[in-house]
């Protein structure tokens, strides 16, 4: 399983390329302390950790931080650093700018500097949870999942509703190869979020599948639907999973909800037909196919995308098969 989100796409061979919020799989040799820790951790782990991107953005649940527009060439990054320096000059004991600076280092994958700044912020009295979760993120980024896991667990012992810490724990477990535990922790995280993004629901969904917990994945899809409503980006993978598990009735229930939301969507009408056919309800299936075809025919020929044209041909074939009682229009 890939740790965190999927690895970012390979960047074209253009030296000028930059991403303002980069998550490549790169180790950084920085201060001795971090390097030593990393080497120690590597020696302690007799397995290859999958390379992937950082889960930094995901941990924003706790930190409300994202990847900044922090590439050095961007004036905004320099302005932000300048603003932080000015704030510190005014009040050297204020830990808040140090948190900002640590996040800036994090976003630019300066792991050692980020860690050092978090430690400094702690010394200045920064919120312990914030700094610990931030540090845990840094450890994840620096591919030190054991350290990240330790910190995350410590925070969860203090407050087991800390979603950010639990997500980091999940990421750490995944990096260490314990996908089942990672999936369980992500599922717990989802339960704590009142209105998750579809992306987070999918993240948790896919984690269950990776852990071969397909029923759990479907529960996640349902939980997400309960919280944010019927959303195609969640239902479609759930439908695919139901079909893969040989549950056409369950898949049909899901597609019906999508069709109710967008009754003119020819693709969903067609899939509904397929599921009805699987269930032996051929008359209803044909009716669904006819409706789908009618939706396509409503668009002039020149207005049909390649995907629609392909679907049209498929529908016409299905309506003309011997199982159909009537020919399609």
């Amino acid at each position: 399983m890939k740790r965190g989100f999927a690895a970012p796409p390979t960047q074209p061979d253009n030296p000028g390329h930059r991403r303002e919020c980069n998550r490549p799989n790169r180790l950084r040799i920085g201060h001795v302390s971090i390097q030593d820790q990393r080497i120690q951790e590597k020696r302690g782990l007799d397995r290859r950790r999958p390379g992937a991107g950082l889960a930094g953005c995901l941990a924003a649940f706790a930190l409300l931080a994202t990847c900044s527009s922090g590439a050095n060439a961007n004036p905004s990054f320099e302005e932000k650093e300048k603003a932080i320096s000015e704030a510190l000059a005014k009040n050297p004991n204020d830990p808040a700018p140090l948190i900002d600076r640590a996040q800036l280092h994090h976003d630019n994958e300066n792991w050692d500097a980020a860690a050092a700044t978090y430690f400094l912020a702690k010394e200045k009295g920064a919120d312990r949870t914030r700094t610990n979760v931030g540090l845990a993120q840094v450890f994840l980024g620096a591919e030190m999942p054991l350290a990240a896991q330790t910190l995350a667990k410590a925070e969860l012992e203090r407050d087991d509703t800390n979603v950010g810490a639990r997500v980091i724990l999940a990421e750490s477990l995944a990096a260490l190869g314990d996908h089942a535990s990672a999936a369980a922790e992500l599922k717990k995280s989802l339960a704590l979020v009142a209105s998750p993004s579809p992306e987070f629901v999918l993240r948790v969904f896919h984690a269950q599948i990776t852990a071969n917990q397909t029923d759990s994945a479907l529960e996640v899809a349902d939980a997400g639907t309960t919280k944010i409503g019927v959303v195609a980006s969640i239902q479609l993978p759930a439908i695919a999973l139901e079909r893969k598990l040989g549950r056409p009735q369950a898949a049909l229930s899901r597609i019906e909800r999508l069709v109710a939301q967008a009754p003119r969507h020819p693709g969903w009408l067609a899939e509904r037909g397929d599921l009805l056919m699987e269930l032996g309800r051929s008359d209803e299936a044909m009716e669904s196919y006819r409706r789908a075809l009618a939706m396509i025919h409503e668009r002039p020929t020149g207005r049909r995308t390649d995907a629609l044209v392909n679907l049209q041909h498929q529908l016409q074939t299905k309506l003309e098969t011997p199982t159909g009682k009537e020919k399609g229009s």
Binding site: P15, G53, C57, S69, S76, S197, E199, I228
Partner: protein, 652 residues
């Protein structure tokens, strides 16, 4: 609902009063009067809904909105109140409204007191029902954040220029003249957090006067992304604003489940707003949800027009943001552009670069700037009706790969050139795909009326520095440039006889082909046109006048100029001895497999072009009623194109 000590005290006071048989208002008499600290501002505009948001320093619960179709109001909706970051409370009330396209008045209040006075200053219009065709004006305001010490108050200048351009210079007037207001991200600098927004977006009275009248939507910019996460939908941006996630506004599309990307309809326009921050950065992972939603949303919509908006432009070389270098822009171009062009999106508006840039009508330019090919330039003209002529797309509605115009307009508050920060690895010069590249402050106005979209760039002085048009659907009459996808079977001839005495000019046009019978009758007339193009530009047109008895009745004879004999089906004729309509004398139409269309005109009113015509010469015929057209290849050996004698063309 999160309660704070303040709110708990108020609630306790209120409940105690209720127990004692008193009202909450009386209970609050002992407390301070609330002060509005932000807003009210309007969100989530729909045909039957509007959300009113405002902040106060204290509250006597419940906060509420009182509203109605008259100043007398009459309905009430309690708000959801939560603690805000200003030390007070945020209130949000979603109103259920009976009538689309209707003005409503509103007032914000709490249990103790009212906070605003009902009137025009606190009113709004609900949206029309999806699919409604009516004139629509959209105002986009890109990168409008005021940045003390960096940008001045230029954003006030661009805003005022718009107020002056569309109305009487006042916020109320401009709000009345605006149907959709869209911010393109980077609405507050440098941190797009709550405090910065409070300072530069919510506090200025000039902005407040508009925001309390006109709802706005927004795309998320990278500066909002400093403190907000668009994958997790956390952070100040998502706390301040409310965007549709579950099709609350009524749309022909699909619910996104996310406030980072969403769609909504306004009349016959389907809007799609995307996230060019984290969701595109992770398009192969969790961010794939946005692309899945986008494709399904565009598949489901049936609107005449589709306009997309997001912060980072797929094509730009403005102000340190080269779309060949920045990965987000590359990903938007490579991952999103193919989808939107596949589904016939008409216009894409972005910000990010503090410039104005605009492409012509293009399709399938996914690579770097230097890979632009001529085949991607579907119409390389300027799109200006007064210039090269409007861009034309064959389909009113989605038409795959019929072309898209891309606008970059992040110049509402600041404008820079790309070379202010040399050495960043960017290329010099305007982006080669652009038809316009301007270093000028300004905002974009998009006006849609039926099957025509007009885009303008209005600078901070009120000058219109760019205008383009897109027309869609089958032409009615002769389009400005030759139409595509016309049938080529038939025979035609055009004779434009040019005389020294213009009164003796003669024009005869004939087409023989299989022509559909549109069921013309005397009340409808016919809309058939002959169009001659010289080097791609319309040089001459001869249209049979449409409209029926009421329109084409001579004052003397009081009879229709069109004749149709039911005993002779498929034959229609038009005669006008007075040659009232551009010198037209007669029109004869015969439909069917051996159909024909013939016109005869003459006199100075025939409006001949200057001869000889520039080549190549193309002759097209349009039956707009049946949406048929013919483009009979010209027989090059039979062209007479003479300065003195005029034009003679045959083909087929």
């Amino acid at each position: 609902m999160i309660t704070t000590p303040k709110l708990r005290r108020h609630l306790l006071r209120c409940s105690t009063a209720l127990v004692a048989g008193l009202t909450c208002a009386s209970a609050a008499l002992a407390g301070p009067a609330p002060l509005i600290t932000r807003g009210p501002y309007l969100q989530m505009p729909g045909p039957n809904t509007m959300t009113v948001v405002w902040h106060t320093d204290v509250v006597t619960a419940p906060a509420s909105v009182i509203f109605g179709e008259t100043v007398g109001l009459g309905s009430i909706q309690n708000a959801i109140s939560t603690a805000d970051l200003l030390g007070g409370f945020r209130h949000s009330a979603t109103l259920s409204l009976a009538a689309p396209n209707t003005t409503y008045f509103y007032q914000v209040a709490d249990a103790a007191t009212t906070l605003t006075t009902p009137g025009v200053d606190y009113s709004f219009n609900t949206s029309p029902l999806p699919g409604t065709r009516q004139p629509i004006r959209i105002w986009t305001f890109g990168d409008s954040g005021y940045w003390p010490g960096h940008f001045g108050t230029e954003y006030m200048d661009t805003r005022q220029a718009y107020y002056d351009h569309v109305a009487d210079g006042t916020a109320n007037g401009a709000a009345d003249a605006t149907d959709v207001m869209m911010y393109l991200g980077d609405n507050a600098y440098t941190l797009g957090n709550d405090a910065t927004y409070q300072s530069v977006f919510f506090s200025p009275p000039e902005l407040q006067a508009f925001h309390q009248r006109q709802p706005f939507l927004s795309a998320v910019g990278n500066h909002e992304g400093f403190v907000s996460n668009t994958l997790a939908e956390t952070g100040d941006y998502f706390t301040m604003f409310e965007f549709p996630t579950a099709n609350e506004l009524g749309t022909n599309g699909v619910a996104s489940g996310s406030e980072a990307y969403y769609s909504f309809d306004y009349g016959n326009i389907h809007f799609v707003v995307l996230d060019s921050e984290e969701n595109i950065e992770d398009f192969a992972g969790a961010g794939a949800a946005m692309l899945t939603w986008l494709e399904n949303d565009l598949l489901a919509t049936t609107s005449d027009w589709i306009i997309a908006a997001w912060h980072r432009p797929p094509y730009s070389r403005g102000f340190v943001h080269d779309s060949d270098v920045e990965q987000n822009e590359i990903d938007m171009r490579e991952q999103v552009v193919p989808i939107i062009e596949d589904y016939g999106v008409d216009l894409v508006i972005s910000g990010h670069a503090h410039t104005y840039e605009r492409t012509p009508l293009i399709d399938n330019h996914i690579g770097l700037a230097n890979t632009l090919s001529a085949s991607s330039l579907l119409d390389a003209g300027d799109g200006d009706p007064a210039g090269d002529g409007p861009y034309h797309k064959a389909s009113l509605g989605q038409g795959p790969h019929e072309g898209t115009v891309y606008i970059v307009n992040g110049a509402a508050a600041d404008v820079r050139s790309f070379d202010e920060f040399p050495g960043l690895g960017m290329s010099a010069g305007p982006h080669p795909v652009m038809n316009k590249s301007l270093i000028s402050l300004g905002t974009s106005i998009i006006e849609v009326d039926g099957d025509v979209l007009t885009g303008s760039f209005l600078d901070d002085t009120g000058a219109v520095l760019d205008t383009f048009q897109i027309s869609k659907g089958f032409p009615n009459g002769c389009p400005a440039t030759p139409h595509s996808s016309c049938a080529t079977v038939g025979k035609m001839s055009v004779a434009l006889k040019n005389k020294d005495d213009n009164e003796k000019d003669k024009a005869k046009v004939k087409l023989k082909t299989n022509m559909a019978d549109s069921g013309w009758d005397l009340s409808a007339g016919a809309s058939v046109s002959a169009c001659v193009y010289a080097d791609g530009v319309l040089a001459f047109s001869q249209s049979a006048p449409n409209g029926g008895l009421a329109t084409y009745t001579t004052a003397d004879l009081d009879t229709s100029l069109w004749e149709f004999d039911s005993s002779k089906p498929g034959k229609y004729s038009f005669k006008d001895k007075g040659q009232t309509f551009l010198g037209l004398k007669s029109v004869k139409i015969k439909t069917g497999e051996k159909g024909s269309y013939a016109t005869s005109a003459g006199g100075a009113a025939t409006a001949f072009p200057a001869f000889p015509l520039q080549t190549p010469i193309v002759v097209q015929f349009f039956n707009s009623d049946a949406e048929e057209c013919w483009d009979i290849p010209v027989d090059e050996s039979k062209i007479k194109n003479d300065a003195e004698k005029g034009l003679g063309v045959k083909g087929g």
